[in-house]
Amino acid sequence: MSLHPVVTAEQELEEVHSDVVGRGPWALAWRRLRADRVAMGSLAVVVLMVLIAVFAPVFAHITGHPPNMQYHQAGLTPDGLPKAPNSTFWLGTDDLGRDILVRIAYGARISLGVGVVATLLTVVVGVVLGLLAGFLGGFVDLVIARLVDLVLSIPFLLVAIALVSVSGPSLTITVLVISMFSWASMARIVRGQVLFLKEREFVEAARSLGASDLRIMFVDVLPNVLAPVIVYTTLLIPVVIIVQATLSFLGLGLPAPAADWGGMISEAQNYYTVAWWFVLFPSLALLITTIAFNLLGDGVRDAVDPRIDRLVRPR
């Protein structure tokens, strides 16, 4: 008797069969992502931030401090300066005696909201224009390619500041300005992929079955460019969050007294010598969010395109 059971070829085959489940590329990518501890950790941080944003009123309720309430007595020192973190104001107060913790929670709504909405808009515009340019070619491609060149050669921040200051700051204009300038890279990526894909047989097959251009583009080609689009999207969110915060920092975010991280840091910059918490906590919130999104993006990239890892070789 052996401790090791003899496995016949037939049995082995059966076992293998029972083990193998058909997994599409997305299921495989998801499995790889789940195995990536850094990516899952950063996903947890992102989810936490989303929860903080969603449940911002709970923070106001627990502390009893509405986000825009100014506590001139309790929240400011006798000299009228911000108060350091204490049992009433856990993360201290700002220059007007408002609770920084509650304002950070409300600020998460703006940063994440703008981050997601502007990114989605960018992706939709970029993907559609990239598909059109790559697939239709010719005149359409020429116009879109020149448009991409134009957008990429405009000094973004300067023109963004100009646009926002002309139209007056608002959430809508922030989202529009950001999307207006960031679709170009997305369109370039998609166009490149489509140029390569449209020569493949499945496109020819679809065409011989009588599919229209529109159908081929959105039903046959689009799913094949989703991988780079998803990777780029995840990495775009933190960039958009930084741009939004930058506009707010320059005074072009939401009109006061709305709580928004970039705006808070901007108000804090005159107090950095006397009230470190006023600068530190909103900056940390911003930094933790962008780092988490970037780590998650890296994880998604590695999961969707595991090629990089195989290239790493010991030297």
Partner: protein, 319 residues
């Protein structure tokens, strides 16, 4: 080569022309209250009309635009609305500041970023690689104003309190006043821009070096018995630099706009700060002038990048 330069210059000029139209339309769609700001609240409608007439704001838009283009072709970008100073003079004063800032920062971030990327890629998964990857991710995720304020707090405020007044809080000293003070005033702004950007380059050059190091010709070079250093820097780095150069072209162009934050934090009166002031005052000639200069920088940077491609990869033909 000559044909390439001519074609690219012409397309560049075309893009610049589109930008002037865009900026012009943009600012005339918005209600202008320049005349009211100049004349004060007590001004009669007649005074305002007079000021509008003197600034040429009462003429039709297309005529104003034609005048602007005509003058611009003669090297005259107009006069600012508030002090009647020539825009070219304003730009000439601000330009050296932004140039010092941009060039210094670009050199630092390029060297730092590419070197770190190469070190990471040649020692993958080592402690150094991981440390550099984490550090660059943090800086990559950091908004430049957060880094700038951090630099001010620790390197200016804390150090000065501790008795080491090495770094000033801001301001600009021209190069003609001595290299020492010039560098001293620019170190913190340089680092603020460079550290954030270097992170992108570390990530980029690490990935592209890893790709290249897996190629057959690298194995050939190693098999020939070439030294590790020579293989890394002469053979691999050269072709790994292509995506880095692409990114550098984009960044160099965006830098003119990107310095806005740094100039604001360290009170450097460069193009960025001037532009922000002009935008808040709706000082159209100054805005157009600066946007034009900035866009020209982008166009030139892109042409230089294409020239670099041809140098780095002889297969690239300039047509």
């Amino acid at each position: 080569m000559a044909r390439f330069l001519v074609v690219r210059t012409l397309t560049g000029l075309f893009v610049l022309w589109l930008i002037t139209i865009a900026v012009f339309v943009l600012f005339f769609v918005a209600p202008s209250n320049v005349a009211r700001t100049l004349a004060g609240h007590q001004a009669t409608p007649q005074t305002i009309a007079l000021i509008n007439h003197r600034l040429g704001l009462d003429r039709p838009l297309w005529q104003q635009y034609l005048d602007f283009v005509g003058n611009a072709l003669h090297g005259n970008l107009g006069y600012d609305y508030y002090h009647q100073e020539p825009v070219t003079t304003i730009i000439r004063q601000a330009f050296p500041i932004t140039l010092s800032l941009a060039v210094g920062a670009a050199i630092i971030w390029l060297l730092l970023g590419v070197y770190n990327g190469v070190v990471s890629a040649t020692h993958p998964r080592s402690v150094r690689d991981r440390a550099l990857t984490v550090t660059s991710l943090v800086f990559y995720s950091m908004p430049s104003f957060v880094l700038g304020l951090g630099a001010l707090y620790f390197l200016y405020y804390k150090l000065t309190l501790a008795g080491y007044a090495w770094f000033p809080a801001g301001g600009y000293v021209p190069l003609s006043a001595g290299v020492g003070p010039w560098v001293q005033h620019l170190v913190l702004p340089w680092l603020t821009i460079a550290l954030v950007s270097a992170a992108t380059y570390t990530r980029l050059s690490r990935a592209s070096m890893l790709d290249v190091l897996g190629e057959d010709y690298i194995r050939t070079a190693e098999a020939k018995g070439l030294g590790q250093r020579r293989v890394t820097y002469r053979h691999a780095l050269r072709s790994a630099l292509t995506p880095v150069v692409t990114q550098f072209g984009i960044d160099l162009g965006q830098l003119v706009g990107g310095v806005v934050i740094t100039e604001q934090i360290f009170s450097l009166p460069g193009l960025g700060k001037t532009a922000v002031t002009a935008i808040t005052q709706q000082d159209l000639p100054v805005i157009i002038g600066i946007v034009l200069v900035a866009s020209t920088a982008v166009v030139i940077a892109n042409i230089l990048v294409d020239l670099c491609y041809a140098y780095l990869d002889p297969r690239v033909r300039l047509t």
